[in-house]
């Protein structure tokens, strides 16, 4: 278990559990990174680096990395990836009124982005804030990441806090008229992209955050979210990887009283992805929904998609939902590690967790570890995990009406994903995602 107390750097030895080999692997990893010029975030970064050195990089035998081999994340440099300038842009959010902010390999591209001003919301970038010295987010940067290190070690989250050069620092004070869209683009063949966003939604304020595209040959993204009482964040991420890629993403959130966090991720192909969520429901009547719809084809290289979610109920009458649906074929692997922790006193908690895989062939696999840990006596918590094939009865029903076999499979895949998609609140956006998935599945009948 990690030690969450802040230690001065000079008290931390750069040794990992007495294993010099592991320590040197971490030092090799760090040596390949150009450190940012930290300003306001310097203390948080130094703390994160000290914690990272104390915990070391994950080893394949670590319980939390049992189903996902960490070596590609541990390597000092990512394997170079051919850069296709036309490759990765998802058409998903086109045609919507939005504020688009572009990041190239994890660095903000001001020229390609919309103007940052939007009523009800303050946006600056991490690099600019660091250069300026002081910033309101000093109380948050790395702090939610730190809170998420208990009770499970998350070395790459600490690494992110320590070394991220750029990101968005967003403070929401009202109800902005349009969503903020973060568009990730690739720049160099071998970029190792790291970015760190901090979002603070003040009491009663709300925003919609859209994310799409891909960055780097390898990426490590962080979203720290602090929701004050009654605040709302609706987050929709579309990871539609055309090229193979290795990616890590994190969402570390603190949800205040009557606040709502709703996060939905669509992932279509890719190589190796791990998404870690650590959601702390600290206020009464808080709501947190984390959902994903994943389509993976191992034919693209190898497909391995890991969702690791930890939701902590620390107050009363909280409602949490984890809805994860994965469609896998051609040797693809899906992983789900999901936990609901209900702390003493978190009465009337309503916790729900479902993880399901639809295997389109016999070569694919789904590895799931659903967990409940409950220390309150008046709660409603349930979890379920299933792995199955296409329902032959439904397939025959559709075909008997004249729907061709491949088209019927598309219907059944969409049917399987429907529960996850229903977590997208905006009807138009949900229909749009459904239509685009349908088109993608139809023109690419191999999935």
């Amino acid at each position: 278990m990690s030690d969450t107390a802040v230690k001065p750097i000079n008290e931390v030895t750069p040794q990992v559990s007495g294993n010099p080999k592991a320590a040197s692997a971490l030092e090799d990893r760090l040596a390949a990174i150009t450190m940012p010029d930290a300003g306001f975030s310097a203390d948080a970064r130094a703390d994160a680096m000290a914690r990272l050195r104390a915990m070391g990089l994950p080893a394949p035998r670590d319980e939390y990395w049992r189903y996902t081999d960490p070596r590609a994340f541990n390597a000092p440099r990512p394997a170079a990836l051919r850069f296709d300038a036309n490759g990765a842009e998802s058409p998903l959010f086109t045609g919507r009124d939005k504020l688009t902010l572009v990041f190239v390999d994890g660095a903000f591209d001001e020229a390609a982005s919309d103007d940052l001003s939007l009523e009800g919301i303050e946006i600056t970038t991490l690099a600019k804030a660091d250069a300026a010295g002081d910033h309101w987010s000093a109380d948050l940067y790395g702090q939610l990441e730190l809170a998420g290190q208990t009770p499970v070690k998350r070395p790459f989250a600490a690494l992110n806090t320590a070394v991220a050069h750029d990101g968005l620092l967003i403070r929401v004070t009202g109800k902005p008229s349009k969503p903020v869209h973060v568009l990730y683009r690739r720049g160099a063949d071998d970029a190792d992209a790291v970015w760190h966003h901090v979002i603070r939604v003040e009491a009663g304020a709300e925003m919609t955050l859209l994310e799409s595209g891909m960055a780097g040959a390898r990426s490590n993204g962080m979203l720290e979210v602090d929701l004050a009482d009654g605040a709302k964040l609706h987050h929709i991420a579309a990871k539609r990887a055309v090229d193979p890629k290795v990616g890590l993403s994190h969402i570390f959130a603190r949800v205040g009283a009557e606040a709502q966090l709703k996060s939905f991720t669509l992932a279509v192909n890719g190589t190796l992805m791990r998404n870690e969520g650590a959601i702390d429901m600290v206020g009464d009547d808080a709501v947190a929904h984390i959902a994903a719809a994943v389509l993976g084809d191992g034919d693209n290289g190898s497909f391995h998609h890991d969702d690791t979610v930890f939701i902590t109920h620390g107050a009363q009458r909280g409602e949490s939902r984890q809805v994860f649906k994965k469609v896998l074929k051609n040797g693809a692997t899906g992983v789900f590690q999901g936990k609901i922790l209900v702390k003493p006193g978190a009465q009337k908690t309503d916790g729900y967790q479902i993880s399901q895989a639809l295997l389109l062939d016999e070569n694919s696999q789904f590895l799931a570890k659903p967990e409940l840990e409950i220390y309150a006596d008046d709660v409603k918590c349930s979890h379920g995990s299933t792995t199955g094939a296409i329902d032959e009865e439904a397939l025959f029903y559709l075909r008997s009406r004249g729907v061709p076999h491949d088209r019927a499979i598309v219907f059944l895949v969409l049917s399987f994903l429907a529960d996850a998609l229903s977590e997208v609140e905006d009807d138009d956006l949900r229909d749009d995602i459904n239509d685009r998935l349908e088109a993608w599945l139809t023109t690419r009948p191999q999935i």
Partner: protein, 251 residues
């Protein structure tokens, strides 16, 4: 229209013969009923004709307008004009009833080389036909059969039949689970579809459905074969006396 000759069918997974030399012919424009005790193979016949997996034809043939049905995929049979109204219509969450139906109609039209219906044309037609079957616009928008009552599911089957305009309709115990009013609605829907170039094969346990959908011929099926065929009076005989006499006679 539909010709079945000496059909032998076993389960694929186990060595169990279900149909044992069944022969039957339904000419164009006629309604034929099949009655028979539980386990006589009625549902198997409907599944084999519509192409469900899990059955192996060991002998005999079945043709629709002279074309070999048994070699076709289910969707090809559908485009050729075959329709099975399911005893237990399947629920498909997340797929809209209208989307499904429009896809089916247009897939069949495409397979037959006909022009596909536009969204507007389809909508106009489906709304009119749904109204006749007392299917609300709200039901059309819901996912296929999800949250439908037993009666609503069966009406939805008839709506599909009305939209797809098949030439050969097989109805597998469509009356099961229906109350009197639903049975009348379903029967009216079927009767409205009767025409000189469309035929029906109605599988049922009960004579009462045949009061509404009047058959030209009634077949009694037992142990994988048709053991007796006759007029509508045969159904009344079963209703009054059960199958005992007929089975004894066949032996």
């Amino acid at each position: 229209m539909l010709k079945i000759n000496n059909l032998h069918v076993k389960l694929e997974e186990e060595d169990k013969q279900i149909l044992k030399g069944l022969s039957l012919e339904v000419p164009a424009g006629e309604v034929h009923a099949i009655m028979g005790p539980n386990g006589s193979g009625k549902s198997t016949l409907s599944y084999v004709l519509s192409g469900r997996d899990g059955y192996e034809v060991t002998d005999g043939e079945a043709t629709l307008d002279g074309e070999d049905l048994l070699d076709m995929d289910p969707e090809v049979r559908a485009a050729a004009g075959l329709f099975l109204a399911f005893q237990y219509p399947v629920e498909i969450p997340g797929v809209g009833n209208m989307t499904f139906l429009r896809t089916a109609v247009n897939a069949q039209r495409k397979a037959r080389g006909e022009v596909e219906l536009t969204a507007g044309e389809f909508l106009k037609e489906v709304r009119a036909k749904a109204a006749e079957l007392q299917i609300s616009p709200e039901m059309l928008k819901r996912p296929v059969n999800v949250g439908f009552s037993g009666g609503e599911k069966k009406r939805n089957e008839i709506l599909q039949m009305a939209m797809l305009q098949p030439r050969m309709c097989i109805m597998d115990e469509t009356d099961s689970g229906l109350d009197v009013d639903a049975m009348r609605l379903v029967s009216e829907g079927v009767n409205a579809l009767r025409s000189p170039d469309r035929s029906f094969l109605v599988i049922t346990h009960y004579q009462r459905l045949l009061d509404h959908i009047k058959p030209d011929v009634v077949h009694i099926m037992s142990n994988g074969r048709i053991i007796k065929s006759g007029g509508p009076e045969l159904a009344l005989e079963v209703e009054h006396n059960g199958y005992g006499d007929l089975l004894a006679e066949a032996d």
